[in-house]
């Protein structure tokens, strides 16, 4: 889902750089204002956790594997603005050190995985937890929130590429959307399992103030 440079037209990447940049600046201000100084290293180490967790390959079958993205998890754990900041940090480092995702397309990648990833997951999980009972509710709310978020993110990615006339909308909708409906299940199971494990091991981490 890390869009490289060249796959988006200048108006699309330009507009998304402005939108995501504004969100990020506002997010940093929110984090700086509402988060205690003690939480700063915590968020920094959590971004390293997301970075490390993305290295674990999850078997899908037939020799194919995917990896965990983590946007939904950090959004649910720390809140949407913190999740956005953490995912942006991860995406910037991946872009600079691994050339995973383009520099001009950084705004699009932050929009898909940071803004949509954290905000949609946070609000979906919050809504779903209200109607589901614990402890299974923790798993299912995380599972559904992560799954829906992945599908939304990839549809957004497909819409940007079709707007840039790189691939036709119907094609990208079917190929990317179809593949990620299945890959999203993987993200959902892992996110739900992590949340359920935390309920048992460190429930205090789930009850931290969300920013």
């Amino acid at each position: 889902m890390h869009i490289p440079d060249g796959f988006l037209s200048p108006p699309v990447w330009g507009a998304l750089d402005v939108v995501s940049g504004s969100f990020l600046v506002f997010g940093l201000r929110q984090v700086g204002r509402h988060v205690e100084e003690k939480t700063i290293p915590l968020m920094g180490v959590l971004s390293a956790f997301v970075f490390a967790a993305q290295m674990v390959n999850l078997p899908i079958g037939g020799g194919v594997s995917g990896h965990f993205l983590g946007g939904a998890l950090v959004g649910i754990l720390l809140g949407p603005w913190s999740g956005l900041v953490i995912m942006s940090v991860v995406l910037v480092v991946q872009c600079f050190l691994f050339q995973d995702g383009g520099l001009a397309a950084l705004g699009a990648n932050i929009f898909n995985m940071g803004i949509l990833g954290s905000f949609a997951a946070y609000w979906l999980a919050r809504g779903l937890r209200g109607v589901m009972r614990r402890p299974r509710g923790q798993f299912w709310s995380g599972f559904l929130a992560a799954w829906i978020t992945i599908v939304l993110s990839v549809l957004s990615c497909a819409s940007f590429m079709s707007e840039s006339q790189v691939v036709p909308w119907s094609f990208s909708f079917l190929v990317l959307g179809g593949a990620h409906v299945l890959l999203g299940l993987l993200e959902g199971v892992v996110t739900g399992t992590i949340l359920m494990s935390l309920t048992k091991v460190r429930p205090d981490l789930l009850n931290r103030p969300k920013v």
Binding site: A52, L58, P59, G61, F68, L103, V167, G192, S197, L198
Partner: protein, 237 residues
């Protein structure tokens, strides 16, 4: 603060390695800007941009193997484009233009990452007034990404040694448990990191330390590169 494990900085004794990181980042971003904003990347222009990149790469002694590894991230998109071009009316020329821009951009980023150490890049970002909080998070990720990455691989290796040949769903749940263990360890490590930072007198609003020196050589790099890139961009060939 260097991590050979996830840092692609390639140490060499070349003039480029001694330049100010700001000037190197400026030239790198200028190159990508020119390439991506070129409406029609003709064969001649594409060759000229590639030539510029190859000369810079050779002068900086960037290994070609690094570039080849990095291009791997394009494979899923190349497949998508190929399938799309095969099934729809998208022309071969359009596909080549997109791939050409993607290759040039990845090449420029590879050269940048190879000649600018990550801590220097952070200093350059600080000098251009990127919010300090963001730079702190980037520094934390750089510092602890390698530590947690190694821990993750150890956990994964242990898991693979014990749980082989199981059904997918169980695989994923076990990985979920591994990652939750890693998450708890990360939290606990963050608490120790904060205590250590306080012991060293850290303050979020304290002064930051940065040593950057912009020399005549930097001005020469920017001037020459800008002239060459402008020549390629507006040249009639």
């Amino acid at each position: 603060m260097t991590h050979a494990w996830h840092d692609t900085y390639h140490h060499a004794k070349t003039p480029a390695h001694h330049l100010d990181p700001r000037s190197k980042l400026f030239v790198g971003f200028l190159f990508m800007g020119f390439v991506l904003l070129t409406p029609q990347l003709t064969l001649a222009k594409g060759t000229a941009y590639s030539g510029f990149l190859v000369v810079v790469g050779l002068l900086c002694r960037v290994p070609i193997s690094l570039f080849i590894r990095r291009v791997g991230s394009l494979v899923p998109f190349i497949l998508l484009m190929g399938l799309s071009a095969w099934l729809s009316h998208i022309s071969k020329d359009h596909v080549m233009q997109i791939l050409g821009k993607a290759f040039l951009s990845i090449g420029a980023m590879t050269v940048l990452a190879a000649v600018v150490p990550f801590p220097d890049m952070l200093r350059a970002l600080q000098a251009v007034h990127v919010p300090r909080l963001f730079i702190l998070f980037l520094a934390f990720l750089f510092r602890y990404g390698a530590v947690l990455g190694r821990e993750t691989l150890k956990l994964e290796r242990g898991w693979k040694a014990r749980y082989f040949g199981q059904v997918w769903r169980n695989h994923w749940r076990e990985i979920g448990h591994i990652l939750s263990a890693l998450l708890v360890r990360s939290y606990e490590r963050a608490e120790r990191v904060y205590a250590a930072m306080l012991a060293r007198g850290f303050s979020l609003h304290g002064p930051a330390f940065h040593v950057l020196h912009f020399s005549y050589w930097d001005a020469l790099l920017i001037g020459t590169s800008s002239a060459i890139l402008l020549g390629i961009h507006w040249g009639r060939f």
